[in-house]
């Protein structure tokens, strides 16, 4: 009797698959240290808290103050500008580098190994290295004796935005070119052979085969890039601390500085909520717009 019962129990377990408890540890970690903090951020946005004494309820005060603060709008505007300019800079570069390294020539394999080196450097390392390299008195300014290179790269409010975009591109293009390299290598060789027979030029092959075949990779990479752009923090923090003035105070940096430098955790939590909402809207919007889910389902079929 008891054996029959366990047998049928086991049978059922096998039909329905492994025990749901197997997801429990991962789910617990994620709930406690990612979902609960998200909810808590919403709660803290209605409190006054200096980070040391207990938070005190203040109602909507933080929201009205933060949402009418010009610094918030400056940060939002800068973050949008970074998203757009970064995408315009990084996508063509990543695409070209990715397609280039997808080639099987030996010299390209060697170059690829070097191209990916920035991936292993920490943001702290990258920030510190570029800060030193871009110093107005040393580094790049002095190396070539070219006056155009002797700029106060990080101190000039006109320039600093583009310098930050460049350093971010330096850090992240290797990752995105990896995506494009993998995508390009998935394109069947027969497509190119057929085009070759038809006498298609290299540019024609790129435009009519490579680009359309990479459309899902473009979608994936762009989605990651746009959502990722919203969260650039460490490199910018080390390079400029948001300055000069407010010239590079992106939204995440504004949140950090408001919270931990000005000890205003309530206002910072409002900014955190803005980050979450914008991030989710961007992700959902891009998914709907571009059919990211179609891509994943296509992958499942592969």
């Amino acid at each position: 009797m008891s054996t029959a019962k366990t047998a049928s129990g086991a049978e059922k377990a096998l039909r329905t698959g492994p025990s749901s408890w197997m997801v429990a540890p991962a789910l617990a970690f994620f709930l406690i240290f990612a979902i609960v903090p998200l909810i808590l951020a919403a709660v803290l946005s209605f409190t006054k808290w200096d980070g040391i004494n207990p938070p005190a309820w203040t109602g909507l005060g933080n929201w009205t103050r933060t949402l009418s603060d010009p610094v918030t709008f400056q940060s939002l505007w800068l973050s949008f500008k970074v998203i757009i300019v970064s995408w315009l800079v990084q996508t063509p570069l990543s695409l070209l580098v990715g397609v280039f390294t997808a080639g099987r020539q030996r010299y390209r394999a060697v170059l690829a190994a070097l191209y990916f080196l920035p991936l292993i450097l920490s943001s702290a390392a990258i920030g510190i290295a570029f800060k030193s390299l871009l110093d107005p008195n040393f580094g790049l300014s002095k190396a070539f004796g070219i006056p155009a290179l002797a700029q106060d790269w990080l101190g000039n409010p006109e320039l600093v935005f583009y310098v930050v975009v460049f350093v971010i591109a330096w850090q992240f293009v290797p990752f995105h070119s990896l995506l494009y390299q993998a995508g390009t290598r998935q394109i069947p060789a027969s497509f190119y052979e057929a085009a070759e027979l038809d006498g298609a030029s290299r540019v024609q092959q790129f435009v009519h085969i490579t680009l359309p075949q990479l459309r899902y990779t473009i979608v994936t990479s762009s989605t990651l890039m746009v959502v990722g752009s919203l969260t650039y923090f460490d490199v910018v923090y080390i390079l400029t601390q948001g300055g000069p003035g407010y010239a590079t105070r992106l939204l995440p940096l504004d949140m950090y500085l408001t919270g931990f430098a000005s000890s205003d955790m309530g206002d910072a939590s409002v900014l955190a909520m803005l980050l979450v909402v914008i991030g989710l809207l961007l992700a959902v919007g891009l998914t709907k717009l571009t059919g990211f889910s179609r891509m994943t389902s296509q992958q499942e079929g592969a």
């Binding site: 698959g17 197997m22 240290f33 979902i35 903090p37 800060k131 390299l133 190396a143 989710l280």
Partner: protein, 295 residues
């Protein structure tokens, strides 16, 4: 089992050969080559600058050309960094990275197995939640995390870094592993089921051995992220004896302000362990970086 593995490998390498067929099409593309070397210069100059400066004399830094090798290279800067508790920071980074990665990969593997093989509603929902987690800018949780870690009396401990690192690594790790485990043929599970194997048995003797490449991938990927993490250490720790390497770099910069070679020597030393991993496991790392995000 061994034969299946070999068959899989053969199939994979055959597929790779098929794709490699493109390499035969040789008509040198000079323009692409030229562009390739320009890009190389952009990537390499900063790295070259880091290395060349770190072995230069401190006194030469302000007078010489920063991009030319020093006439009398020295390892003094490295010595200075090593004498400044470098090994303590290294040990902290190792503890945080190893603990985070081992737990992340272990529990994500269990979750991924359940997600692929189970039809239970709660499992489906969990997977959807993880996918959603990929879209949330996790920096936004730093203030509440600071609050929670303080309430739990974990502020300024290594555990304060490990716990959220695990949570934030779970979504992408699960996604990569799910994509991989989905490709394990269902017949393998069937045949083990016929032999009366339990789900734990399948997990241990089927999932783990067959997923080894994916496990290597997520291990390297997460190790890289945790090792290089900056925001958590910046916010959740304070005392020098709890410092991890990226934060140590940041404080070195304040401490050695005018000793640029020492700061850059610290950059080199902090990257060295990951560089070794990169040299040894570049293939897995590269596979991992792309596996989670489609093909």
């Amino acid at each position: 089992m061994a034969t299946t593995l070999q068959e899989r490998r053969r199939a994979v390498s055959a597929a790779e050969r098929g794709r490699a067929g493109r390499g035969r099409r040789v008509r040198p593309n000079y323009l692409a080559g030229l562009g390739g070397f320009v890009w190389l210069a952009i990537i390499i100059v900063p790295i070259y600058y880091i290395v060349i400066t770190s072995v230069g004399q401190q006194s030469d830094f302000y007078t010489g050309n920063p991009l030319l090798p020093s006439s009398n290279p020295t390892l003094d800067s490295y010595q200075a960094v090593l004498d400044n508790d470098f090994f303590l920071y290294l040990a902290n980074s190792l503890v945080v990275t190893v603990a985070s990665v081992v737990v992340t990969v272990g529990i994500s593997l269990m979750a991924a197995y359940a997600i692929v093989r189970s039809r239970a509603r709660v499992v489906r929902l969990t997977f959807s939640l993880f996918l959603l987690g990929l879209a949330i800018p996790l920096q936004a949780t730093i203030i509440p995390l600071y609050y929670m870690i303080g309430q739990a009396h974990l502020y300024d401990t290594l555990l304060a870094l490990i716990l959220p690192s695990i949570a934030f690594a779970i979504p992408i790790t699960v996604l990569i592993l799910v994509n991989f485990i989905r490709d394990i043929p269902g017949e393998l599970f069937e045949s083990m089921r016929v032999d009366g194997a339990s789900h734990w048995r399948m997990f241990l003797s089927l999932i783990i051995p067959l997923s080894r490449p994916a496990i290597a991938t997520v291990t390297l990927y997460n190790a890289l992220n945790v090792w290089n993490g900056f925001l958590f250490p910046l916010v959740l720790t304070q005392s020098p004896d709890k410092r991890v390497l990226p934060l140590a770099l940041w404080t070195f910069q304040g401490q050695f302000t005018i000793n640029v070679p020492a700061i850059l020597a610290a950059v080199v030393l902090s990257t060295l362990p990951i560089f070794v991993l990169y040299v040894l496991g570049r293939r897995q790392l590269v596979a991992g970086l792309t596996a989670g995000f489609g093909k």
